[in-house]
């Protein structure tokens, strides 16, 4: 094969001698296997997220339950804090010059 190196078509002709292999017969099966493996190996949160996207009704129901649980937990915390507010008021009265004491007093609803 002779080639005129200044001829673009000559270079193209030479490059065409570079052949690429054909895909193997089971190429597609390998791709599908990989896709299924990836889907199975996806982190739990991704799978849950995927389900939620697929079934919005279930997602909304879950969200309502979560909000309910969070609300009741928060309510219980606030109730427990009542006694700690009394403590804060006492601290604020005892230590009026400090900023923290002032803040705590104000927070508790009384003047330091």
């Amino acid at each position: 094969m002779k080639m005129d190196t200044h001829d673009r078509s000559g270079l193209d002709g030479l490059l065409q001698a570079h052949q690429a292999p054909a895909p193997r017969g089971n190429f597609q099966q390998h791709v599908w296997r990989r896709i299924r493996l990836r889907a199975a190996a996806a982190p739990t949160y991704q799978r849950v997220w995927g389900r939620m996207q697929a079934q919005p009704v279930v997602a909304y129901a879950l969200l309502l339950v979560l909000v309910g649980v969070a609300g009741s937990t928060l309510g219980a915390r606030v109730n427990r804090k009542d006694s700690s507010l009394d403590f804060a008021r006492r601290v604020a009265v005892l230590q009026p010059p400090t900023l923290a004491g002032s803040y705590l007093g104000l927070y508790a609803g009384g003047s330091p």
Binding site: M3, H6, R8, A17, Q19, A22, R24, F27
Partner: protein, 193 residues
């Protein structure tokens, strides 16, 4: 254009869960995608692995809720993924692309006995293939990918610019430089073969 319309229809069907449409898409593009990657990374086994990875990524992208089909042709989009997969593999290897030749087993060449011809012709063709492969690998990756898409896949400069995410001017410049370098490097091979 007709082909691209059909590709887009397949994308819609794949999104709807039609696996046969994805098989059809693979049927159409597995050969060009593999050929492109093989010329970027001249190891048949690694190239096949990366070509499969390209389709896995494409499938997962199509299944994503926020997937929006590209304005460019589907083939352009697939070549973009293939190019990214090959580039990431080369980065991960953290060595010069030529190192692929060192681990290239005899059977991994694109040439085989099925090509016919005498043993001498076969050997000459194999040698020429190796010379061109090595010359391609000496090119910087951006020039190599532009040249491969231009010469082997007959992509327009606009398509190449879309695949490589650069300007058409840049594509012109990359192909011009790549051609000049190959001209110089392959001159002895071309004259001798």
């Amino acid at each position: 254009m007709v082909q691209d319309e059909q590709d887009r229809e397949w994308l819609a069907r794949i999104r709807a869960g039609d696996d046969h449409a994805f098989d059809a898409l693979m049927d159409r593009y597995q050969r060009p995608v593999l050929a492109f990657i093989f010329r970027m990374v001249p190891d048949a086994a690694a190239a096949e692995d990366m070509a499969q990875e390209t389709f896995v990524k494409a499938y997962r992208a199509i299944q994503r809720k926020r997937f929006r089909p590209t304005k460019a042709a589907v083939s352009t989009w697939l070549f973009q993924i293939a190019r990214n997969v090959a580039r990431d593999a080369l980065r991960k290897a953290k060595r010069k692309p030529l190192a692929f030749f060192d681990q290239m087993p005899e059977g991994s060449s694109a040439f085989s006995a099925q090509d016919g011809g005498s043993p001498a012709e076969h050997a000459a063709a194999h040698e020429l293939q190796q010379i061109i492969s090595q010359a391609l690998q000496r090119l910087p990756a951006d020039q190599r990918s532009a040249l491969i898409l231009s010469v082997y896949h007959e992509c327009s400069q606009a398509e190449i610019a879309a695949i490589l995410r650069c300007s058409i001017k840049s594509v012109e410049s990359r192909i011009y430089r790549a051609r000049n370098k190959l001209d110089a490097w392959l001159r002895p091979a071309g004259g001798g073969v």
